[in-house]
Symmetry: C2
Subunit: 337 residues, 2 copies
């Protein structure tokens, strides 16, 4: 029975198996013509429709039990469903041009609940300068929301996971670990500040920041941190063929999160190995640092190194340890027996 | 408790409530700039990205229990999930440029099942000249597949539900009622031909036909018949402000379906009031009939009339009765008490 069930191989292995099927010869021709970036390697697929811009597109499916933590309001569920997709658009340096929302819900759902959900979706879309242009409604045992976001980016400004070079600086927007701490607080029913909870319940897509970063010409690679900082570093490393040295001291962490963590180990767990922050992680050419410094609240957390040196964390005492490839994965591979 | 649950108002009423929320002032500005057609009025949303073509986009959520009839293979579930979206692209006269598939499945799903599903998706995408360019995987109690399809169409060739004029001829591709008869056969465990079953299990998006119809310049309005012929006529009527006179004798029905139906009443039920056929229904300027006649297997089933005359069926004896606004709706409004 080993390795015959989805649960035995994990999300990334399954994606790779399916990608092989989707990349079969028949599809390849069309792919070469219009599809610049296909499934899997970046936050969005990228299409070249022979205009001035690239079109980027992404889809994300969320479920009541696995994606909406206890205590979330329907408005926040709507906001979150839009935000996860709009964050992927931002990750490419693109501006959103439209959102489609397919919603499956139990037939005994209160209309007021659905309306609040829609208001949350609309609020997040409007915050990012776009709107809902399509969707689907469906009855379903468990609330399920699949969003699809479209975006546009000038061809010269597209930002990919590929492009970082040794010597580049590694930056993040906002704070790391807030969503992870909030999730822990919710699950263990411990109190935590509103500020921290909001990071989990109402993640803010970095649409404005992304556009300015793309325009700066200083960014060499970018993605969002929705799967956690460690996973994001591994994704950037795989695509850019660089290593990373991240300074533990430099990680931007909210004071409330430092206070909430049971110790330095849990703090690192929050900051590196839990997802949900939806910040941008990006690398910049150090000679162009000035061009991005005033764009947004960004923190330089380390630098790109040679691929062979791996992904390392430098402690305050300058000791280097490897950052593990751990973080948020929807389909976790269970321990094989 | 009346009218507070989703089940009490039905899909179309709920869509209209949500559309109001999504069309709130904030979104309106952006909408006017890029969104030619928003949610609700056509098979796809239409974006004007300042290129040569319009971009069309659609999304559809399918669930194991409600959308995949008993007896379907995983390959067919995959094919169907791609087909419902690609049919919407065809309905606009557009060519598909990419497909995104978000799949939620139980963690004990066999990998072989998922691979078959992916092969079905890929086969349908390749048949329509496109490929899977993105997606999402997720664990979920019930198999849930949300597809999103993108397409392109020359600006002058976009086909909408709006545009039919009194005197235009009403045409359909393929056959009507095959999927309805097949569903009845499956549900009542009665035997029916492979040919009829295939209409339900492997619906064929009319991609090639749609492109040629769009290029002909003869088509004045178009949509797909996925919600049934009657609902499609009502949708065309609402957007085009025309009535219809449909000739019962002209409805293209497979001989096996005629034989399977218990009588003329059930035959009309299949042909008019059940969904799942995924054919194209379109109206043409009678003076340009020659331009479309050789494109595909099409049947003229009636003509457009003045809006005020309503949507009528003409019996072989030339008696006129109103076609009811009944058909496939995911969220059915239950009888209010």
């Amino acid at each position: 029975m080993k390795e015959t069930k989805v649960s035995s191989i994990g999300e990334r292995a399954l994606i790779s198996r399916l990608s092989e099927i989707f990349n079969a010869p028949d599809g390849e021709e069309r792919r070469q013509e219009e599809v610049l970036i296909g499934a899997g390697s970046d936050d969005c697929a990228v299409l070249d429709l022979k205009g001035e811009d690239y079109l980027v597109v992404t889809t994300d499916m969320l479920h009541m039990t696995t994606d909406f933590p206890e205590g979330m309001t329907p408005w926040q569920m709507g906001w979150m469903s839009a935000a996860v997709n709009l964050s992927d658009i931002a990750a490419m340096g693109a501006e959103p041009t439209g959102l489609l929302m397919a919603i499956g819900m139990p037939s005994d759902t209160e209309i007021a609940f659905v309306e609040e959900l829609a208001k949350g979706i609309q609020a997040c879309a409007a915050f990012c300068g776009t709107s809902v242009i399509g969707g689907d409604l469906d009855t379903h045992a468990e609330l399920t929301i699949t969003g699809t976001a479209l975006g546009r980016v000038k061809k010269s400004q597209l930002l990919l996971r590929k492009g970082a070079k040794p010597g580049d600086l590694v930056c993040v927007t906002g704070y790391a670990g807030s969503a992870g701490a909030a999730l822990k607080a919710v699950q263990s029913k411990k109190p935590v500040s509103e500020n921290v909870l909001k990071a989990l319940f109402e993640p803010v897509p970095r649409t404005r920041e992304a556009k300015q970063l793309a325009e700066s010409g200083a960014v060499t690679s970018m993605m969002d941190t929705s799967d956690g900082l460690a996973m994001s570093l591994y994704d950037l490393s795989r695509q850019s063929k660089t290593g990373f040295k991240i300074r533990e001291n430099a990680l931007p962490i909210l004071p409330e999160v430092r206070k909430f963590a049971s110790g330095p180990e849990e703090l690192l767990e929050f900051a590196l190995y839990t997802g949900g922050d939806f910040e941008l992680i990006f690398t910049i050419d150090p000679e162009r640092l000035k061009k991005v410094q005033n764009i947004c609240n960004l923190t330089i957390i380390g630098e790109c190194t040679e691929y062979e040196t791996g992904i390392m964390l430098e402690s305050p005492e300058c000791r280097l340890t490897a950052i593990k490839q751990l973080g948020y994965q929807q389909l976790k591979a269970e321990t094989a027996d």
